[in-house]
Symmetry: C2
């Protein structure tokens, strides 16, 4: 095998912070950042998840800050969100006061956590909104009430299809 002093991503460094990511790590993190933005999740969260995905060991917050060059606020907030959807899990190491984190790497759980945290609440409140709309139609009784009720019915069918669909996603993945 050919010699190789691991090529690293840009970012020359001066005093404290140091990126120190290998190319393959930077590449993977990039994949996660893109995937995150596709589903409307902030960059820093994709970065953190990606870094943990690459890491063989659980990482504490300050290492995450150093490697990704993000602020304490971002790191703390990002980990909070990731914990919330169950995408990272805290690991307690003896002899180290700091919380360490690993990523959840079962696709099914990742998706499940995201759905129940980010999607289901909207689905639930959506149901109430449809009831309000129905009330408005019946109250105002516009001349095209028949059409309006038809649309409402269609929307309700989309709603219930989606509710059936999401659990099915779990099984599939």
């Amino acid at each position: 095998m050919s010699a190789a002093r691991n090529t690293r991503s840009p970012l020359p460094e001066g005093g404290e912070a140091q990126s120190d990511l290998l190319d393959w790590e930077a590449g993977m993190i990039d994949v996660f950042v893109r995937a995150a933005s596709l589903i409307g999740v902030p960059k820093s969260i994709g970065q953190i998840y990606g870094l943990l995905f690459c890491s063989e060991e659980p990482l504490p917050m300050d290492e995450i800050m150093d490697k990704l060059l993000i602020s304490k606020g971002s790191a703390s907030q990002g980990l909070k969100t990731l914990r919330g959807i169950g995408a990272v899990k805290p690991v307690y190491l003896i002899g180290d006061r700091r919380d360490h984190y690993t990523c959840e790497d079962k696709l099914r759980r990742l998706v499940g956590g995201f759905i129940s945290d980010q999607v289901n609440p909207h689905l639930t409140s959506g149901s109430d909104r449809l009831d309000v709309i129905e009330a408005a139609i019946k109250r105002d009784n516009p001349e095209n009430a028949k059409h309006a009720l038809g649309r409402l019915k269609l929307l309700r069918s989309w709603h219930s299809k989606t509710k059936l669909f999401l659990p099915a996603v779990q099984k599939f993945l």
Copy 2:
């Protein structure tokens, strides 16, 4: 049936533009705006789709502008995007030079259009990125190369599951 002068949403009006949405329409549009933002689509696009969803007749751009109180630029740009994913269809009415639009109201087609326009391109380019990562691992041959390759393999499996999954979505909905 009880008397009722249709209650309308806020927005007193002065000279030209007029919102003139009924409560039930405003409610439905709101549902679409929320759904749109859930999947990272701008508000104005959700509004336009919602308005067309409520309307019994195809609508021309200037009516859309007037009812939603949005600018010509937004309306034009929003319709362009919606046409792009096949969420609205142009309808040509004789005796009227203006293009009119109706919404696509088959859920399957809506979702299909969105996926092939917004998701598939990312999936495709993602595949190339994984190859680049693999090359980086083999080139640098870091001491944890075994672990790195394991992660890459996992990510590849997620990738192919997703590729299988998306067409399945179509059938289900």
